[in-house]
Assembly symmetry: C2
Homo-oligomer: 138 residues x 2
């Protein structure tokens, strides 16, 4: 029996280290990578926005019908901060994340998974933070 | 003495409930609200992308030089999921979040704060998840 009910969405926050540094500074490559990840997860892409910073680093967002994917890169640290937020039960954010980690040739990644919008928990008057604070490491 | 060093960024994940439902379905209002929040925090806006879903609900992203702000709304639940991710020491994400909570006329909000990119922790070979799992409730 599920007491708390289902969340509206699941969000992955990924700390991705030891990536291919050239890819982290290649905007076209990252844009293709993030849209490919969204497609692999079965998401419906609505908007794609990327921005390159000087002297290095790229920020990118893919807005999907099911919420969003974001990436911010620090090529000088071989590091990327990636978020994947999906709603509904069809799209699995882990599929998108695995695609990104593979495409970045990353040798190290640590992830937390957070439930968003636990409405049943809200109705029970318990603090939502009890739920969104749960962190699963993969 | 700071053993772990400073993170590259701070991310707030806000569960905002009991919002003004009309505002949650008003794309122009939300776009103005999110850009105002970014400006109040002193962020530099790079890209603004919003999308309206049928029959209701809006997703929006403000890409800033310091990372991003996102919002996804469920007007039927009077709920918004808001993320604010800022890098550097100038922009305070709490300033942006307080502006959003006020603008949504929200009566309830719960937030976790997560450190992103703890490079010193990485170098010490400790698991980054030990750090990004820390959740401060405000």
């Amino acid at each position: 029996m599920t007491v708390l009910g289902n969340p509206l969405g699941i969000q992955l926050l990924a700390e991705i280290w030891e990536c291919n540094e050239d890819k982290l500074n290649d905007m076209k490559c990252l844009e293709e990578m993030m849209t490919r990840a969204a497609n692999k997860a079965g998401a419906e892409i609505r908007k794609v926005v990327f921005h390159r910073f000087e002297p290095q680093g790229i920020s990118g967002v893919v807005v999907i019908s099911e919420s969003h994917l974001t990436i911010h890169t620090w090529p000088e640290l071989a590091y990327a901060a990636v978020d994947i937020f999906t709603c509904g039960e069809v799209v699995d954010p882990w599929d998108a994340l695995e695609s990104i980690i593979q495409d970045l040739n990353a040798e190290d990644a640590h992830v937390i998974e957070i439930s968003r919008g636990m409405k049943n928990l809200r109705r029970s008057k318990k603090k939502i933070t009890n739920t969104i604070g749960q962190a699963d490491t993969k």
